[in-house]
């Protein structure tokens, strides 16, 4: 089993990196590009076989450690 965690800056937080990437894409001629948000992607290999236990534990880890709820949102997927 594997957990995939996507962490993105909250919409209210200034994201200068996203803005710079957006500007670069526009500058390169890519049309139809809206707001860009640059975040993080974590892949965690799971050795515990129980999906629900893993989800519960990782959800807590995301909240406590892997993301900072003041500035970031996260999405957790287990497959």
């Amino acid at each position: 089993m594997k957990a995939k965690i996507i962490i993105t800056p909250k919409k209210a937080v200034l994201d200068p990196q996203g803005k710079t990437v957006q500007n670069a894409l526009e500058h390169m001629g890519y049309t139809g590009v809206g707001a860009v948000h640059v975040g993080k992607y974590l892949e965690i290999e799971l050795t515990n076989g129980d999906k629900e236990t893993a989800r519960k534990q990782l959800d807590e880890a995301c909240h406590k450690f892997l993301s900072n709820p003041v500035i970031e949102d996260y999405r957790l997927e287990i497959e």
Binding site: P9, P16, Q17, F65, N68, V70
Partner: protein
């Protein structure tokens, strides 16, 4: 006074802090390694600058779970004075000892220069010796010093005089141009509700001697020492 200066892997301003406290201000200061579970005989804690644990994941995110930080949590809960400098600010925010977070500078650049700070209140153990009209000229050196907090938190900081320092220009005007990193309300440093934990992104420990271009940083440490001496006097009496 006995100062404990924390040392994480990749702390790099710990020696500056110990030097300023020992050799410039004449107080006892010792390093406390991140694996220690006790602070020992300590009057105040300095969480120094640097790149603790390589700044991996987020600045301060891993340091916050180190054994020594559990001791700092306890020390702060007992009313002990804790001052975070630069990375120390990030660590204290991650630890929940201070509200908000420090994010990437608005310019995306690492800023290394001298700035001016306006002190908003003398009512704290970290500012009591700073004359109200005195601007502090101190260096900054950070890539992630943009202070962010939600509106409610900001309003609370303002209402309770918890914003200790703001970035300003040489005339003391708080302007967008004098904001080196995009911090909300030009915030350079804050304290907690109980006023015993404070932090700032600039480096007062690097501005305690004329040789370093400014001695203004001394005022912050002298405030801290003054507060500790008052506390001791009160205990004796």
């Amino acid at each position: 006074m006995n100062f404990a200066v924390l040392q994480f892997p990749a702390s790099n301003c710990d020696q500056d802090a110990v030097h300023a406290l020992r050799h410039v201000l004449g107080h006892a200061a010792r390093y406390v390694w991140h694996k220690e579970t006790s602070l020992g005989d300590t009057d105040a804690v300095i969480v120094p600058g640097g790149f603790s644990y390589g700044d991996y994941l987020r600045c301060g995110a891993i340091a916050r779970f180190s054994p020594v930080m559990q001791a700092v949590q306890q020390f702060a809960a007992n009313g002990g004075l804790v001052l975070g400098l630069c990375n120390g600010f990030q660590v204290l925010c991650e630890a929940g000892l201070l509200p908000g977070a420090l994010i990437r500078n608005r310019s995306l650049q690492f800023r290394c220069e001298h700035v001016h700070l306006k002190t908003l209140t003398a009512d704290s153990p970290f500012t009591n010796q700073i004359p109200s009209d005195k601007l502090l000229r101190v260096p900054i050196a950070h890539g992630e010093g943009c202070y962010f907090a939600d509106e409610e938190t900001l309003a609370g900081l303002k209402a309770n005089n918890r914003i200790l320092w703001q970035y300003c220009n040489a005339r003391g005007e708080v302007t967008d141009q004098s904001n080196p990193n995009g911090s909300l309300w030009n915030i350079a440093g804050i304290c907690n509700d109980r006023r015993n934990v404070a932090a700032l992104m600039p480096h007062p420990e690097r501005a305690c001697e004329p040789l370093l271009g400014s001695s203004d940083g001394r005022l912050i440490f002298e405030s801290l020492i003054h507060a500790l001496q008052n506390e001791q006097r009160a205990k004796v009496a």
